[in-house]
């Protein structure tokens, strides 16, 4: 495979200026001009649909398809929500995009809004992203001044768009699309029951499209370079599996954990975990070896060292028992780390972030934390592992017991950890070892 030329990080790697002028001189807003001048919104949707772009936020839903769910000929306002509430642990690709190349993102937002005929776009940025917010705000201001936002954009009559930044108050659940919408409306971020889906009834009870930052950034390049170019990158659909739409396009991989060189790299979809660690992450630190890998954010579960050759596309992690690609944030855990401690941290995160709406998730995450904390204190029992596995299995939208997917994300790391590292847990329980208290070991609060 030929050396891949970065697309999304193209300007960032060159350390180009985030200003509008610099972006324009690098060919920015060319796609927007092209679309506004030559294409109808429907054609943009068709192009995106043809490109096979799948949402980069975690679930991997085909973006073009999502856009077609909007009610046809809807009179009222249609809203565009851009999900920049990047709260999956170990994930930071959106931050890079917003901080370093805000106009690339903004162009994607304007293009997407054009495609879905949205007149208002909300950019929901998590509160912790101060520099990103400022960078985006600056870009938006520049765009308004340049006539790229506001009324009759680029002289096209009726193409109006206002972009507002909404800073979230900080909750993992705000990254869930209906939770985000609720939060945007000023309510408690409790995910809504579906149906109705946001595309039918979303923010302020109007049709709403929720897209990830990286997704809309991809849209810019798809419109610019065409669907065929996009399809040439990545892994084609598995012909044996009619339900696999394929994994196309470049992807920003976040590498973190026990590696020598953590960071974001842009690679075509389908790169293996081993390649990411060894080639792009500089190998495991301190000369140690890999014990486990989280392939795409905490909620995707764990991979063992034997599964490192799994390709990271939308279908790959699922084949080894993980939930999916997620945000493609690879976290490496070295062989000196106790899985009990890792799981304890995982459980603490999800116990803290469960919104508390659905009983199975609210009580399940709390129970799992209590059990893991007890195991860590050396008071575990063998049957606790069975309970953990069972609880991990029974919560989430997959068995149908919760409204949103947070519970799946909470259950997956627990059950993959127990299934794949059961021997370690059992020997820990047998030894009756007492864990070294972590600084924040406020067990069960």
């Amino acid at each position: 495979m030929a050396e891949f030329e970065p697309v999304l990080l193209r300007r960032i790697l060159k350390k180009a200026s985030p200003a509008l002028d610099a972006y324009r001189s690098d060919g920015g807003y060319r796609a927007l001009q092209k679309a506004v001048a030559e294409m109808t919104p429907e054609q943009v949707v068709e192009v995106v649909k043809a490109s096979g772009l799948r949402g980069r936020g975690g679930a991997g839903f085909p973006t073009g398809l999502k856009w077609t769910f909007l009610p046809k000929g809807h009179p009222g306002p249609i809203y565009m929500c851009i999900n920049a509430d990047e709260s999956e642990p170990c994930t930071f690709n959106n931050r890079i995009l917003m901080e370093e190349d805000p106009h690339q993102v903004l162009e994607g937002i304007i293009l997407s809004s054009y495609a879905v005929k949205a007149t208002v776009a909300y950019l929901y940025i998590r509160y912790e992203y101060g520099p990103a917010t400022r960078a985006m705000q600056k870009a938006i201001d520049e765009a308004y001044n340049a006539g790229l936002l506001g009324q009759n954009i680029l002289g096209k009559p009726g193409f109006n768009l206002d972009v507002f930044i909404h800073r979230g108050a900080g909750a993992y659940i705000c990254g869930e699309e209906t939770g985000l919408i609720e939060s945007l409306e000023g309510k408690r971020a409790w995910p809504r029951i579906k149906p109705p889906f946001p595309a039918v009834e979303g923010a302020f009870r109007k049709p709403t499209i929720v897209n990830n930052i990286e997704t809309v950034a991809c849209v810019t390049h798809i419109v610019d370079r065409g669907a065929e170019w996009f399809k040439s990158i990545g892994v084609p659909a598995d012909p044996k599996n009619p339900r696999d739409p394929g994994s196309y396009g470049p992807k920003l991989y976040c590498i973190s954990g026990h590696v020598n060189k953590p960071g974001v790299v842009e690679l075509p979809l389908g790169v293996t975990v081993r390649e990411l660690i060894d080639k792009h992450g500089g190998g495991v630190w301190k000369g140690r070896s890999v014990k486990a890998v989280i392939p795409g954010g905490l909620s995707m579960g764990f991979m063992t060292a034997e599964e490192l050759d799994t390709p990271l596309d939308f279908a790959g992690p699922g084949r080894v028992g993980c939930l999916g690609l997620g945000t493609a944030a690879v976290t490496v855990i070295d062989d000196q780390t106790s899985m009990v401690d890792v799981l304890y941290n995982v459980c603490r995160f999800f116990e803290h972030e469960s919104c508390g709406q659905c009983t199975p998730c609210r009580e399940g995450t709390g129970w799992m934390l209590k059990i893991v904390a007890r195991i860590r204190r050396g008071l575990g029992r063998r049957e606790d592992l069975d309970i953990l596995e069972e609880v991990g299995d029974r919560i989430g939208i997959m068995p149908g017991t919760t409204i949103c997917g947070l519970a799946d994300g909470a259950g997956w790391p627990v059950k993959t950890a127990i299934r794949k590292f059961r021997a370690e847990f059992e020997s820990y329980i047998r030894s009756g070892a007492k864990a070294v208290p972590l600084p924040l070991a406020a067990v069960g609060h």
Partner: protein
């Protein structure tokens, strides 16, 4: 016509827009639920009503969805198949329906739903304290019931439970046992959607989520106590009822709240002749699901030790206790004597707190004594204006109105008026006869009050005017200006102690039933009238109601008996000329 299959049993739902819980209910299958309430929005968060759904295809096969879905959030449509955790259980007398053609890989129908429900209950009980012995809800607690029916017998959790502190400050009328809360958020939704002011909210996240108020803004609206009924567990407790009785001692009687002319259907919970609490009874024809706090807490006078307990008689100011056996003939003699001498000067004042039957009997008795006697409607207590809900944050009423507390604070003005209209062609309000009292033109006055002491409608001036009547007979619950001036004081019964019919503001006739025995010698008004007429036997509301229906056309729909939800009475007939 749409057909839904619940546990193989076909149910015709017609054009109704139902969810799976309601559709199953029509099939006689109960789907347990906590967060869902017909009056509130659906949140589908308790995850107790999980069912398996599918679709019956035209070729007779069934396609089932792979996951369980919450029944409250699943609207049913034609050919929908619903399988609940109770699949395979049938009523003893019911024919067993033919099983549908489930797919081969589906497994045992109902197993997944059953397990999901058991898992949910296990989750709910993880942090729920096992303090049923001290919990007032024990005995009518949905968590108890469902755990017994659908849950496991033991807990697998050995870790410490979360014990958030109690919050007695959330309202002057309500206390919150935070640790018992199962986060169904019914109370929160009620305050937001029904009463409107949204005093309650959820704090914290995950398993530490708690119900609370906003600082310094307690839950004090006039519908607040409904959250206690809504709470499926013992988290929200009425301070009025707290620790008074265990619910299994209580005897529940269907009745009607008399405190305003809305006429909310209620359950009257009593034990050993003491009324302990009033609960709203679901009645779409009357008020819906709820009732106001004023009515709910307005029962206390019934248990009062200050009530009139025995009949009194004697010259003015020298009343002495008498037995009914003595007083009835004396009264009859006195009345016949005076009414015979001056039949025009007989006035009976019928309280709007009388039941229709009592008003009918009294009117007939007085008219029988003196056909030219005047029958007047007693003072009607009106306080302020109709109070509608929901209200917004600032307390302003909002549309659409979902609940109204009426300004007219009596239960049966409408019914008494119809009786009066029948007997003398028009309704003479009290104000029109007051002058006759002050002018000394009344020889005999029969005054009925029988109202809650804070809503009799009588002011002191009117009472003093009426006190000038030559012979004053007063039927009331409590002593007052009128009873002091009377020659005959007949202790009457509160609404929990008698039976009869109330007609609310909209013409809905509802039956009240006897739940407690009157204190000591107090005797229901209807019984006194029968005794005076010389009719032997006990007062039976049903038979008087039949007579009433046969005599007065307005009440004709009552001839067939009383419906538990009440009977809407027709148009008001033209006054007889």
């Amino acid at each position: 016509m749409a057909t839904v299959y619940v546990n193989d049993k076909p149910v015709e739902i017609g054009e109704a827009r139902l969810n799976a819980i309601e559709a199953a209910q029509r099939a006689g299958v109960f789907i347990p639920h906590y967060c869902w309430h017909p009056a509130l929005t659906v949140v589908a968060s308790c995850r107790m009503c999980l069912v398996e759904v599918g679709e019956l295809k035209d070729d007779g096969t069934v396609q089932m969805q792979p996951k369980v879905v919450p029944g409250c959030q699943t609207p049913v449509k034609h050919n929908m198949v619903i399988v609940t955790g109770e699949y395979g259980q049938h009523q003893p007398n019911e024919p067993i329906p033919t099983p549908l053609n489930y797919p081969a890989n589906y497994g045992t129908p109902g197993q997944r739903a059953k397990k999901a429900q058991a898992d949910t209950l296990e989750g709910l009980l993880l942090n729920h304290p096992l303090d049923c012995p001290v919990c007032d809800k024990a005995g009518e607690c949905k968590l108890q019931d469902f755990s017994y029916q659908y849950g496991r017998s033991t807990s697998r959790m050995i870790d410490e439970k979360n014990t958030p502190p109690n919050k007695p400050y959330i309202s002057s009328k309500i206390t919150l046992f935070t640790d018992r809360c199962i986060m169904c958020t019914r109370c929160v939704r009620f305050t937001r959607e029904y009463s409107g002011q949204g005093e309650l909210t959820v704090l914290q996240r995950g398993e530490h989520a708690e119900i609370d108020i906003f600082p310094g803004e307690p839950l004090e609206n006039k519908l607040s106590l409904n959250v206690v009924d809504l709470c499926p567990v013992g988290a929200l407790g009425s301070k009025d009822f707290l620790y008074k009785q265990r619910v299994w001692y209580l005897k529940s009687t269907d009745s009607v709240c008399p405190d305003c002319s809305t006429g909310c259907s209620i359950h009257l919970d009593t034990n050993k002749d003491i009324v302990y609490r009033l609960r709203p009874r679901e009645n779409p024809r009357a008020q819906g699901w709820f009732m106001c706090d004023e009515g709910r807490l307005g029962y206390r006078y019934l248990n009062s030790k200050e009530r009139l307990m025995r009949p009194l008689a004697g010259p003015r100011g020298q009343l002495g206790p008498k037995t009914w056996r003595e007083i009835i003939p004396a009264l009859r003699r006195d009345l016949a004597d005076r009414a015979g001498r001056s039949p025009d000067q007989v006035v009976a004042i019928l309280s709007p707190w009388l039941t229709c039957e009592e008003a009918f009997l009294l009117a007939r008795y007085i008219k029988g004594l003196a056909p030219t006697a005047t029958l007047a409607l007693g003072p009607v207590p009106i306080r302020g204006e109709d109070d509608t809900y929901p209200k917004d944050r600032r307390g302003r009423p909002m549309q659409p109105v979902r609940f109204t507390i009426r300004a007219e604070k009596c239960p049966n003005r409408r019914g008494v008026e119809e009786v009066l209209r029948h007997f003398q062609g028009e309704v003479i309000p009290f104000d029109r006869v007051r002058d006759r009292f002050t002018a000394g033109q009344v020889n005999v006055a029969w005054v009925t009050i029988g109202a809650s002491p804070d809503r009799t409608g009588w002011d002191e001036e009117s009472a003093r005017a009426v006190a000038q009547a030559g012979l004053l007979i007063v039927q009331d619950l409590f002593a007052g200006v009128l009873t002091q001036a009377a020659q005959y004081v007949l202790p009457s019964c509160g609404f929990s102690e008698k039976e009869g019919t109330f007609v609310n503001h909209a013409g809905l006739a509802q039956g009240i039933r006897r739940a407690t025995n009157p204190p000591q010698e107090a005797r229901a008004e209807g019984q006194v009238y029968l005794d005076l007429m010389g009719v032997t036997g006990l007062f039976q509301a049903a038979s008087v109601r039949r007579e009433l229906a046969a005599t007065i056309p307005f009440f004709a729909p009552l001839a067939a008996g009383m419906d538990p939800l009440g009977i809407r009475l027709g148009q008001v007939p033209e006054p007889v000329a």
